[in-house]
Symmetry: C2
Subunit: 336 residues, 2 copies
């Protein structure tokens, strides 16, 4: 029998329908790798991308030349661009504004590796350091209200390049999904006087069924109303609303935990495509007691169908308690 | 340069990013047909499904035996079921309730055809007649607040069976997406004293750029803030909030228009997977001046990636004006 669960953060409903997990096509294998060779993101092919916005490089190497470890370039096919009109226009029925914003590509290794779990520990740490720096840079642009760092890994997750990379999008308005999450968290705080994310962390660290792994400063849990099989959130144990002000020297620990959770997902679900997203409070918000920045890792093995489009409800055939139990199984070495 | 457009109904934002349409992988071909033979939905295989809930049959033929034209059975892997507790339970942090509801499969032909465009005119009409009857039946169950009729056609659209079929889900609460659309339409009506859907219809019938096709009683348009390439909505020209009270003798005209629009989409986008959805007002709402029932047809050729998950914004590489122009091209015979 299925169960309807309400996400305590966003108030969205999820149907946990375990019996549907029996359907043989529910967990398809990820199709073959993306054919993007010669790869425009590999070291030596710097001229195949727009010019570098930032990089972590070996001493003495030059802009748009080999020698980098992480490299940030503008997206060649941007969804939003820095030029354009910010003012909405409309005719009463229809409203539009220019697609103003930033859209950057963060290349995470000079080598042609694919999954975040295949990076060296140094590469993974550099990636998270540069996510933070690029988000801080976006905050420095007064026109921007919000930025999202996200990764598409694998064709089913929307990736069009195979080489390990993430993206940053900065937008002049706070997107609807972020507003929904902020409103739900504020409501919880007003009613119960606590951060809903801190409440989740506290419960799971006290031997909860949703814990995947904890390190000194971070915790990985399957959310109670998980939308997707093996969906996992990583949160800092100390309350903080903004990712872009997080101390840089703690990001190596976070990067290692992200790598291990991705590895756990890959071992549990036969290397699916996945997305991860960094959720952080809007730029104009002061440090907030009700919101807690976090990373959402989303394996892409179920499909959105007519039911999900029509209702906004997700159907998840794998209860998150079962997912957490399976994800805990692999004995992975912590900090190398 | 891209444009941000706000849907006048739901208030969601869509990025119309034409330059991204250049990406070669953006419009992939739909993979090979689903291998579900022997097909449990074909005439003669009635014993492979749960027992019949309703059917349109040749005179003198028997329940769960051959001789039907449209056949309704419970979904074998239901997301929601009629038994269960309606009362929400929770512990302060987490809230849940039993997965109460109905989940039906509507088989649209005794023959093994795939797309709605391949049905005979009679089969298409019967399908829409039975959608209406099943929705009216769901309204008769006092526990149900809302029902959605939807179709998944093709694996990329979430179909797990190839044989032409649709589904009905009835739910004890009005789903979030429906509430969002109702709230946006109410807001428009309060501000401007008119139905936002009627305003769209009036504008497009007066030589608007988004019109795809009009019949005597229905109109097909690409919505201004289309989320997907060639997304098309079909609306009754006469204002009405509830599909389940629409006169049955007009549904043949609607079914024919749905068939032609699906055919137009198939000719324009090389036969993609698609969903369609019937949006109707909740059961407990009296006939409403602000809401207008309609059908949404969604070709599934773009992928939801990290950006869409993180923000709730959709990126559509094909402006709906261009889509409408292309969809109008094929000279299809109207009413046979």
């Amino acid at each position: 029998v299925s169960q309807l669960r309400k996400c305590p953060v966003s108030n969205r409903w999820v149907i946990i329908a375990e019996n549907r997990g029996l359907r043989p096509v529910e967990f398809p294998a990820e199709p073959k790798r993306i054919d993007d060779l010669p790869c425009p993101l590999c070291e030596g092919n710097e001229s195949h991308t727009p010019g570098e916005l930032a990089a972590i490089r070996k001493p003495g190497t030059r802009h748009d030349r080999p020698g980098w470890q992480v490299r940030v370039v503008p997206n060649k096919y941007p969804a939003l661009e820095l030029a354009g009109e910010l003012e909405p226009r409309g005719d009463g029925l229809y409203t539009w504004l220019g697609g103003v914003g930033a859209h950057e590509l963060i290349v995470e290794s000079p080598r042609h590796v694919v999954s975040f779990s295949e990076l060296t520990a140094d590469e993974a740490r550099h990636a998270w350091e540069i996510y933070r720096r690029r988000m801080a840079a976006a905050r420095g642009d007064d026109r921007m209200a919000y930025a999202l760092v996200f990764k598409n890994s694998g064709a089913s997750a929307g990736a069009t390049l195979e080489h390990a990379h993430s993206q940053l999008i900065a937008t002049p308005v706070v997107p609807g999904n972020a507003r929904e999450e902020l409103a739900g968290a504020l409501e919880y705080h007003q009613q119960l006087g606590a951060c809903v994310f801190c409440a989740m962390i506290e419960r799971e660290l006290a031997d909860g069924p949703l814990l995947v792994e904890a390190t000194r400063r971070f915790v990985a849990v399957c959310p109670y109303a998980a939308r997707f099989p093996c969906e996992t959130w990583i949160l800092p144990r100390r309350h903080a609303s903004h990712f872009d002000t997080h101390p840089e020297d703690e990001l190596g620990e976070l990067a290692g935990l992200v790598q291990r959770v991705v590895r756990r997902v890959e071992l549990t679900l036969s290397a699916p495509a996945y997305n991860y997203l960094v959720h952080s409070a809007p730029f104009d918000s002061p440090p907030a007691a009700h919101y807690h920045w976090h990373v959402e890792i989303i394996p892409r093995i179920t499909k959105m169908a007519g039911f999900e489009w029509g209702t906004g409800y997700y159907i998840n055939p794998l209860p998150p308690e079962t997912a957490a139990q399976r994800l805990r199984q692999p004995a992975l070495a912590a900090e190398p």
